[in-house]
Amino acid sequence: VADSRMIRNQYDYLRRLDVDELERLLQLAVNPQCDEEDSDYVDALLEVILEKEQEEDTGRLSDVDEKWQEFQRHYNTEEGKGQHMYYTEETDTPDQIQAATSNITTFPKRRLRRTLMVAAIIVLLVSMTLVPVMRHKNVIQLFAQWTEEQFSFGLENPWEIDSLPEEYQDMYFSLKKCGIETIYIPQYIPDGFVLQNYSLYTSPKTGESSFAVMYQKGAEFIIFQLEQNDGKTGVIKEKDSTIVETYNINGIKHYVLSNNNNNTIAWHIDELRYALSSSLPISQLKLIINSMY
């Protein structure tokens, strides 16, 4: 009793505050870590608010009769008999209490979760800053290499092969100098298409070659490209917003790109990157690629 009186005196100053201020203090005081002293403070706050509300009803407190009726209607029902709304030490076994309270978030868990969230946000923000630094157009390009508008291999892959017509000979000998003797070339070109032009460029800087050959039939074209690449300088393939599809031939993943009215299938084998582009439909390009293996 003496303690309770002392506490009352300690928080007497609260009576001079109005209900709004008391509510604000109450919001600040509600803390999951609160110790006994905080709990006395919260009790005192609640007590003063209750007193003030009884003196002058502002409608903040619920109507007791109404709430009692609500309880009778919703909770004190036949199926609820023998059960209780809250776990108590008197009515529940220690196991039940343990099981029920294990789901309650404790402060250390909350702090861990908050720390993880802050760490995740920091990682995301750092990733965002890395995007322009690494000359990617967005974060996805950090991992994959195509966007809605463009496609490019990030790093090089596997390869092999045989045979070659005249237009491929310069390219073959250029690659042979680099120790590459096996390449894949189209064995089938659709009827009516004739060789239009071809080009071999060897970088004076890196010594790497890039080769392109074009076959034409009226306004239709087929371009086959083959290039060495160290993976540092990527060749970008233009593409529209159509989703990149992939399919496997010979265990090699081929990427199908659409660029407005034209199509490209790109793939790579070891340090060689291949691309077949055309105004023809994808099905025709697949036939040409099938002939290469």
Binding site: M117, I121, V131, E149, N197, Y201, P204, Q216, K237, S277
Partner: protein, 136 residues
């Protein structure tokens, strides 16, 4: 507490969405003229070496490198240093479907440079181009 948590979730979602938005606001689109392209700029022996390649969607009226603008660092500013256009030797070709070349631009190795390179392809319908910026 609920409000704080909601704000944290909202902030996280905004961050995730922001990651998916391209950093370069002016995203390039597919092209009727350009099929593929690539540019690389490095220091050579007393030169800035600009290597480019471009392939058109079929034979183009003209294609190659439209321009190379080189800026030299002066304090915090970039001063005009030199430039090349598509009319300079080795920059572009007519009536071809592909073109690649390396252009050497004399420079002073000890300086810092910004190089803006644009490649292009042009047919009867239109000209399309792509630009990349390099810092050396």
């Amino acid at each position: 507490l609920k409000l704080k948590r909601s704000c944290a979730y909202l902030f996280t979602v905004i961050c995730l969405i922001a990651l998916l938005i391209p950093v370069t606001s002016a995203a390039e689109s597919a092209s009727d003229q350009i099929m593929s392209w690539g540019i690389d700029v490095t220091f050579g022996d007393g030169t800035i070496d600009v290597e480019f390649g471009i392939t058109g969607n079929g034979t183009m009226n003209k294609l190659g490198c439209e321009s190379i603008y080189v800026y030299k660092k002066n304090g915090t500013e970039w001063d005009d240093y030199t430039y090349r256009t598509e009319y300079n030797t080795g920059m572009s070709v007519y009536n071809h479907f592909t073109y690649a070349n390396m252009i050497e631009i004399p420079c002073n190795d000890s300086a810092e440079y910004k190089v803006v390179v644009t490649v292009f392809a042009e047919d009867d319908e239109a000209r399309d181009s792509r630009t990349d910026v390099f810092y050396l």
